[in-house]
Symmetry: D2
Subunit: 344 residues, 4 copies
Amino acid sequence: MIKVGIVGATGYTGSELVRLLYNHPEVDIRIITSESRKGELFSDVHPHFQGLADHELQPAHKILEEDLDAVFLALPHGVSMSFVEKYTGADFRVIDLSGDFRLSAPDVYESWYAKAHTFPKGFEQAVYGLPELHREEIRRSRLVANPGCYPTSAILGLAPLVRANMIIPGQIVVDSKSGVTGAGVKAKPTTHYSNVSDNFKAYSLKHHRHTIEIEEQLSELSSNEALQVQFTPHLLPVDRGILSTIYTQPREGVTENQLKALYAAFYKEHPFVRLRKNPPALKDVRGSNFCDLFVTYDERTNRIITVSVIDNLVKGAAGQAMQNMNLMFGLEETTGFTAVPLNP
Amino acid sequence: MIKVGIVGATGYTGSELVRLLYNHPEVDIRIITSESRKGELFSDVHPHFQGLADHELQPAHKILEEDLDAVFLALPHGVSMSFVEKYTGADFRVIDLSGDFRLSAPDVYESWYAKAHTFPKGFEQAVYGLPELHREEIRRSRLVANPGCYPTSAILGLAPLVRANMIIPGQIVVDSKSGVTGAGVKAKPTTHYSNVSDNFKAYSLKHHRHTIEIEEQLSELSSNEALQVQFTPHLLPVDRGILSTIYTQPREGVTENQLKALYAAFYKEHPFVRLRKNPPALKDVRGSNFCDLFVTYDERTNRIITVSVIDNLVKGAAGQAMQNMNLMFGLEETTGFTAVPLNP
Amino acid sequence: MIKVGIVGATGYTGSELVRLLYNHPEVDIRIITSESRKGELFSDVHPHFQGLADHELQPAHKILEEDLDAVFLALPHGVSMSFVEKYTGADFRVIDLSGDFRLSAPDVYESWYAKAHTFPKGFEQAVYGLPELHREEIRRSRLVANPGCYPTSAILGLAPLVRANMIIPGQIVVDSKSGVTGAGVKAKPTTHYSNVSDNFKAYSLKHHRHTIEIEEQLSELSSNEALQVQFTPHLLPVDRGILSTIYTQPREGVTENQLKALYAAFYKEHPFVRLRKNPPALKDVRGSNFCDLFVTYDERTNRIITVSVIDNLVKGAAGQAMQNMNLMFGLEETTGFTAVPLNP
Amino acid sequence: MIKVGIVGATGYTGSELVRLLYNHPEVDIRIITSESRKGELFSDVHPHFQGLADHELQPAHKILEEDLDAVFLALPHGVSMSFVEKYTGADFRVIDLSGDFRLSAPDVYESWYAKAHTFPKGFEQAVYGLPELHREEIRRSRLVANPGCYPTSAILGLAPLVRANMIIPGQIVVDSKSGVTGAGVKAKPTTHYSNVSDNFKAYSLKHHRHTIEIEEQLSELSSNEALQVQFTPHLLPVDRGILSTIYTQPREGVTENQLKALYAAFYKEHPFVRLRKNPPALKDVRGSNFCDLFVTYDERTNRIITVSVIDNLVKGAAGQAMQNMNLMFGLEETTGFTAVPLNP
């Protein structure tokens, strides 16, 4: 059994981690922490867990007193880095769900997150936890930087095209639409019901932090030119899910069949990516760790369109974290994933 | 392994059965049927099952050619009865999710369903499949009439009060609110998005078919007087879930503590009923087989209020059916139920 | 022209007042106040008013410097009373949308609102602003206490039965379901999108403040016995609207036709109450000042069921306030109401 | 008074026309037709109009027996053309809300609508009813082809850039998201509540009919090169509204201020287009005839992003039709438009 601790119980990623790990046959959740709600039960904070996960919430410092194999950090960016620092040298592996170690270097972080990074050394050790690109490094890693939700959706949609050097690197538009849980559990005007329901809007045009995460990962895949992405996030009146509509231009002629074959080959060994005959919808993956992809070529305009959907809390966060844990502990990538998508 | 067939693949209960049975360690889904979509894959009809359940859909008559232990009928009322008749004497057990055999007798059926019953003999054999009331009979049964969604919610909320003979039998109001999946998968004006979204209404006042199902089950529980229920269903702009607000009047004085103790005793051995400290919400049980109950006493008005929530597709249909199957095959009632409620 | 001031611009009732008064041919909105956003434009706070209502928000004390005929108080209860006190003796009439002067006396207020009342003298002057019950008093009033949203829906549904002395006063159940705007504009966990969307729950069982408001108004209508209401509010995943399902018991035999005739007679002179042939839905009144009623008799159970729908922000707040203003200034009750319900 | 007839009462555009025309001071709705519901009242079909529009529905042939000034055709494409033909030479003006006469020529229609056009002569007479581009022609027209909803949103977002010859004509991506009412009133799987709610998907990739409508109108505005648009529609879980996110590339350097000035100059005389400081949301225009636009320049990527929102049933259909009627009858463009956006 993998003895697991979860730091940060009150947010959606913390709650999702428990939902998924609960059904994992090789996991024992030993400790869940929360500073703001310590002493209460996990099921007081999330009543749907009553009778399933009634752990008493502990202060975070108790993590170091437990005998653990893996610790998940379900904390906001800027907060997570100090925990990663504190856990350096600990016996357990760390999977950090924040944005603190996803980028290539502290200065890139500081320029896009507008915040000083207090543990630059962490970057040397951290592996970007997208199994479809970095499976082997993840297996050997002791610190995984779990990818952002938008980047997971965008990178999986673009990776086959970029690695095959098939598209013009300056002509990439990623138009993404996300459910509200991506904005976190905290009540604020942007997540107020009546501001979201029956509504829709774009936000963070031009400078969303996930832009650089997408660009760095894709540039690494690309053999030659620097690559630039026009990324626009939108807020959907749904709980879960990200759909990205991705527009690219082929360097030269391509056919629909070539595209299908390219994607099929790229994802052959990756059980959580499903190639779809028709454009997928959010509910096709809700609650599951799948990323469903559809790709097509528009001859009229000479443009490739890729549609990518994930559940932002699962493949975009907690599910990918459990997938990474499986790899880090030598298990099958799919171990413990029981949930068929919940649709409707 | 229990070899299972599912008749009726295109509706929501068919799809939910596959979702739940997929994770059951003792079940092998051998055949799924559909007349209208036969020859297609189950995952063509429900694309979120791609890679998970790609069974080719069969015509229903193939059921009798398979070596099966259990057959689930996920068919509309009025259609199911002829299948039950056809399967009389077959080697497999039958769990019927329609309303065709839930009532006490053909004439009651005919008066509330306004339709002739073509297999009255089935009533002799059928057991009402609410495990919290009829567990032992279900274990021995070869034909289970799986309860309606509203009745499951209402009966579980009222059963402790009725069996204890605590309430006035003519003063029971059940005000129920259901998600749209209860109206089925078929597109019709009442389920058109813009008629439901941001909207709410009552329907079938005074004469909904589930009224008699609730009354019959409760009257059976009650030792003396005939019992009458004022039942009003409403249509919520949500996919899944039923919440029933139940108003009753105690025959004589009662305290909050007596009520809590009564419910606790009644449901002590029933793992899918959770007694809650605060009024539950639909999402607390979404996707799961739980029925969450809250009961309180209003001293000012001398009335008892019980709030009951279920997922209409799970505890109100497919989950209860799998729970019944577990009982019929000597398994633990909870076997194969992995899904923690999906919230949010 | 009626020169109008609105105190409290940031909430939903403030915003609705401007929406409705904007189209009123006899109204000039002279001043809108907000302490927290003063100096900004009304359309900065509510961008959908850009180009329509670009008033610079003023501090509240400016009200007394303007030449005004009517002032609307769109403030929370507990805050409003001090403004009413301050405006005693002013030349303008006051319409208070809070709960501060709706009840019969300060001690009733203090017991249900759990808060001291600092201006008890206000109760002498205040008229309960439900035009369908108090039209003449409203015409003569200088201080109108605009009714609560739930009470408007419940009282209009019950008034004909109560005034006709037709029902048993101890057997009244009001099961109400409200949209989220009733909980106000402020972001808090209960109005967080993912806590509301695809969800549903009961709240404030047994002791919601609107209970006493309903009971007092109905008792006044009733010639003899004290009257008690079992009131349960629920939170719907919709923006606007209240639907109340009201259960009562006739003292003696009654027919469907008698009920229809009773309601028709009662509301003959009231243009905003519509009697419906079928149960109404929330969207049938959305954005409008209508209260749609449906009444029916269940012979089987000897119970009357009344279904009542309003838009909580219009007939339940700002629209009713404008209706009251019309009466106070000798206008036709319907003057300025242009909006047909927005459906879908 | 303008004596008006409406052909096609059961759909959303028919209902919206009545909602808007009801408040128009110069309009008298003389006749509303429906073949399928003739003999019933308009308010039987749309109960929210009870007491407001209780017209008895007439068969369409009655149109020619009335003394009318204007006829609105609220019919599906393919059906409308035969009515236009029939009304040739009639005394009234015609505003056709279908797609039958929006394109430049019958062969273009036939290639994109995959359907023969039975009244090609109509194209000679029809004027494309987008007042912001064709105001003068509309004033003189006897047959207006009211624009599609997506094209209204896309063209208004792009027109200033195209007319100024500022952008590269082969690099235009229009990623649009529409509410469900755009798919019509008819119940079908794509508009079934549970297929839409909490869901999101792209559809009609590469070949949606509105693509050519956008391209033709913009090409007309453009002085030189042929212009091509990559248009992708998506289905939002909302009733009303279209938001288009539009990506273009400037031919040469441009600044944020130049863009703002360009849009301000272009729309100076157009009261229904509002230029916004921040990206607009659907509810900012819900129920109103506004098109809200936001434009910005991304220096990093050298791309212009324009966000455009409309209510698809108002500025995208019935409101624009009334705006066109105003122009055709010499009224102020804004006459009769009372509705402030309904938000929330």
